[in-house]
């Protein structure tokens, strides 16, 4: 890939999605955009970039953004966070026992494995949630990924990644084109297309926000902007889960790390003025 095309694509993705590639990520662009260029009938990435430069075809802009922002996911990814959020959620659930309302936001829902892992896990741990106003909002920048999430049908490969067979047996039906998550596990989840760079106040307040392996692709100022806006939408006793390799250090002081957990779990920070 020539340097001018790389620079153009880096700027394009930064403006469109906040994705900050930095230097030396040609392999990533090529891995994702060569197949896309071919499927769109271009001979190579250079032709695709020339088309983007003309700015006339919104579908291609959309397809490039989608190709670069759809990340690998699997059921119960990293496993540990699901165990660790249980004890934190137990406290929140006790605190909400009179209003019987629990709201969770998966801010990078991708193809749905994370929200469905949550419903599988939480219905196991807290079966009474079926009678609560229990809602999971799953958002993602990629409409294509959300379409898969809404359908809730996964291939044989996908259901074997991270999903114990007992869960497969109890939570999925074998259908003609794969494995379909049971309706009762889909019911609490609402999927919406959302670019985290844009306003998300309309989503309301949450007890838990999961935003794993997304901020890592953003510049520090973009990360700060997003997590500071998360703060406004998280309950005072709620918490935020980031990806294992992500940190708030040097990004924002709106949250404090819960050191007793291995996962990147954060609570809204109690500011000095508030303490006094």
């Amino acid at each position: 890939m020539n340097p001018a095309d790389y620079e153009y694509l880096s700027n394009f993705l930064l403006q469109r999605s906040g994705l900050s590639l930095g230097a030396g990520k040609e392999y990533l662009l090529e891995a994702r955009l060569i197949p896309l260029a071919q499927s769109l009938g271009f001979s190579d990435i250079h032709e695709l970039v020339n088309c983007l430069r003309l700015g006339k075809d919104k579908r291609i802009e959309f397809a490039v953004t989608e190709a670069m922002t759809t990340n690998e996911t699997s059921f119960f990814r990293d496993k540990k966070p699901f165990d660790e959020i249980t004890s934190l959620l137990k406290e929140i659930i006790e605190a909400r026992s009179s209003i019987k309302r629990l709201r969770i936001w998966c801010a990078a829902a991708s193809t749905g494995q994370e929200p469905y892992s949550l419903t599988m896990h939480l219905y196991d741990q807290f079966p009474f949630l079926t009678s609560w106003m229990f809602e999971i909002v799953g958002t993602d920048i990629s409409e294509k990924a959300l379409e898969t999430a809404r359908n809730g049908i996964y291939t044989q490969f996908e259901v074997q990644r991270g999903l114990p067979v007992q869960k497969l047996m109890s939570c999925f039906d074998h259908v003609e084109n794969g494995w379909k998550i049971k309706e009762r596990l889909q019911k609490p989840i609402k999927y919406k297309q959302l670019n985290l760079l844009e306003d998300f106040m309309h989503l309301g307040q949450f007890d838990l926000i999961l935003c794993r392996n997304v901020l890592i692709y953003f510049r520090n100022e973009t990360k700060a902007d997003i997590v500071n806006r998360f703060r406004k939408q998280i309950a005072g006793d709620g918490f935020l889960l980031l990806g294992a390799a992500e940190t708030m250090l040097g990004v924002s002081d709106e949250f404090e790390r819960l050191r007793e957990f291995n996962s990147a779990l954060y609570r809204p920070a109690v500011k000095e003025a508030a303490k006094k």
């Binding site: 044989q156 490969f157 074997q160 990644r161 047996m169 074998h174």
Partner: protein
């Protein structure tokens, strides 16, 4: 090093399984059908895990599994079915017979590794 017994009538699958096992850090043993697998299990009492195909000549995987679970052994190995049988009734049948996990072919090293972690083998 923990021991894994690869039971499959396909030599190619056993070969792939052997490579995967070494990659994961397990010592591979092989058997080409359920009867041979029973013989290996009776000779080698410290097998940790068995990757078990379903459809094989002489003795199929499910029959082997039932016989193995009936045996009075100090150590019952973890059994992961590894088969092209991918219907829910078949999965339930294998799990009821004493399988610990289930892999639908084709599979990758990552899937095998995850299932071995899930069952506490590694």
């Amino acid at each position: 090093m923990k021991k894994i017994l690869l039971v499959d009538d396909s030599r190619a699958v056993r070969l792939v399984g052997t490579r995967m096992a070494r990659e994961i850090g397990l010592e591979p043993l092989e058997a080409e059908n359920g009867q041979k697998a029973l013989d290996v299990c009776r000779e080698t009492l410290d097998i940790d895990v068995i990757l078990l195909d379903w459809n094989m000549p002489i003795m199929d995987g499910l029959t082997f599994l039932k016989k193995l679970r009936e045996e009075d052994r100090e150590k019952q190995p973890v059994v992961v079915m590894c088969t092209t049988e991918n219907d829910m009734p078949r999965i339930i049948e294998a799990m009821s017979a004493g399988a610990n996990e289930y892999i639908m072919k084709p599979f990758t090293t990552d899937i095998v590794r995850e299932k071995l972690i899930e069952t506490g083998v590694i």
